[in-house]
Symmetry: C2
Subunit: 347 residues, 2 copies
DNA sequence: CTGAAAGCGCTTACAG
DNA sequence: CTGAAAGCGCTTACAG
């Protein structure tokens, strides 16, 4: 039943050495036409395929990338995961996946496990690591790149959208539309994305001479976002904010449901709402949510590029901090400034 | 920089044999308290952790499960992926992921790649395999289980919801509500889920003395579902179906947008719509889609259980065909039969 | 309980 | 271009 075919068996059938077999299955190696033929013939006959694990052991390259991911209920991540995995596969790497969702807190343990697999690199999607473990990775020569999160650790590459500038754009849009009671529903404070979006938003509001009118925290969780929305809007109508920036679409959609179906308010007549990410659901017509787009394709491309650069040129590759600008996608959930039409904003 | 610590180094520092070190890191092995102490001390000092790949080579067990997944844009899958991955992690397995989305058609090549990693088992989520490759897996002693798809190949375990019965429930509900022009928008015909849902739906319709009033194919793709909805409903109002079963929620939500926002029809006053899966978005109040729930938790538990059973008892484990009954979740997108209230239906 | 030895399936210098 | 030999880092019988 378990009939593992080894390179030695192929070699014997082909009448060549084990080395010859190995060379046939090693892209750049030099083998004569004749040998190659004999080996291939024997290999197909026996159904031989090289054992990747054995190869990894001796070569020191596993061609496995560890990918840690959380928040799969936020549609931005499955999409990113799919793209990430596809690009890596195209480059001949495979992805060992680790869910951080349930294990939140002890990412470090997860990282140790990943390292045990002799991965060639690690991608942390919306997950932060301790500097201890970062050091361990560096010692082990395993490059790490942070996806959609940035962190001030020496030598760690990160790829995000330009969250600060995104936050600014939202504030500018609200102000241009004439809003004067502008609120914010924050994500999880531990996330750099949350902090940067809020900082940019507040800064641009300040530049316009306005203060934040109301502030609640939704932690990037739909249930908490609903609670935040109720605290913010379930008050005397004249005290309600007239515009709210929600730190990501995932929460913003839940907030819209509360505003419209629980409180009976109209969007954008009674309140404007803007999210962040441009997940597919934001474009669904029942929501039609104005939002800042995160360019997942670009972010993924940068992530893979940076990681492979570090893997293939460990000596020279330098850490990068990439922040990709994303456009404001103008839909109907937020009142339009004079002269605007629902379409992508060019800032 | 790359300071790999080996068991031999630990052994030397601890003053014991390499075997002793190995035993300390092998759960059931017999080691004296003294030895264990010395080894652990040396190991922490050196920062030693066993190389999983080396262990896999000699033991023949990689503790890696290959997971092939497609349709990540259908929210049912990210959710299943997360649960699957979590359960497997808890059992000490890790997941090597392969996206089938882009490589549709050549699942067999993907399977060969997976086998190269000496995986202990494979889960195919909403992906079908050729019987050739099934045979190869069997020869290699690698168990395979199909998740959310069933297939008539000897010895292959599959876990699905009871799609036939689900389809029946939808038809019975429509009929009970007094509908007489009942339509169906199909998924991809290659999927057993699609075929079984349609079969059950048609059968129950027949039992009630009705025929399918209209039929279109959406292939499980949102864009195709929109086109199907237009072909079906963008006709003279009196010729429109008064109820439609859409083969999954993913398509049903897109169909609702077309019906309401493009054609200006009301749901359920002008047309009732029911989906399948009960993805989280189906519960969002802007849609509030009546649907058949797939019990992801149970499906995942059965999948993991069956796979581990085959891995751990290769000699005795028998193939299983599991079909889990799922309830109709009654919301507001479909007209209620007399006496019904919006809540879970017990059938 | 413990150690010496063999071996998992490959690749990589080293000669030729 | 090709083969014999050593070795990647572990575990597993086998003695003791």
């Amino acid at each position: 039943m378990a009939e593992k075919v080894t390179s030695l068996q192929v070699a014997q059938l082909a009448g060549v050495s084990q080395s010859a077999v190995s060379r046939v299955f090693t892209p750049g190696a030099s083998v004569s036409k004749k040998t190659e033929e004999k080996v291939r013939k024997a290999a197909t006959e026996l159904g031989y395929r090289p054992n990747v694990l054995a190869r990894a052991m001796v070569s020191g390259k596993s061609r496995i990338i560890g990918l840690v991911v959380a928040y799969l209920d936020n549609y931005f991540y499955p999409e990113a995961l799919e793209k990430l995995s596809n690009e890596l596969q195209e480059q001949g790497y495979h992805v060992l996946i680790f869910m951080a969702s349930r294990t939140a807190g002890n990412i470090d343990d997860v990282m140790e496990e990943i390292l045990d697999y002799q991965v060639d690199g690690v991608i942390l999607a919306s997950v932060a690591m301790s500097s201890d473990i970062a050091t361990r990775c560096q010692q082990a020569g395993v490059p790490v790149v942070l996806f959609n999160r940035s962190q001030d650790i020496d030598g760690i590459t990160s790829v995000t959208s330009d969250n600060y500038s995104g936050g600014r754009k939202v504030a500018e849009f609200f102000v241009a539309a004439g809003h004067s009671r502008i609120a914010y529903i924050a994500g999880w404070q531990g996330a750099s994305t949350q902090r940067d979006r809020e900082a940019g938003f507040r800064a641009a509001l300040g530049d316009a001479g306005q203060d934040l009118y109301a502030y609640e925290i939704g932690e990037f969780l739909t249930e908490n976002a609903r609670l935040a929305a109720r605290r913010m809007f379930d008050v005397e109508p004249q005290k309600r904010p007239d515009a709210v920036f929600v730190a990501n679409d995932h929460m913003a959609l839940a907030v819209m449901d509360v505003i419209r179906f629980e409180l009976g308010m109209r969007i954008p007549e009674d309140v404007s709402i803007i999210g962040y990410d441009d997940v597919p659901q934001a474009g669904w017509l029942a929501y039609n949510l104005t939002t800042i787009r995160q360019r997942a394709n670009l972010m993924v491309a940068e992530t893979v590029d940076a990681l492979l650069d570090h893997i293939e040129n460990p000596a020279v590759a330098a850490a990068r901090k990439v922040a990709i600008d994303g456009p404001l996608i103008v839909r109907t959930s937020a009142r339009l400034p004079k002269g605007w039409t629902p379409q992508r904003m060019s800032t």
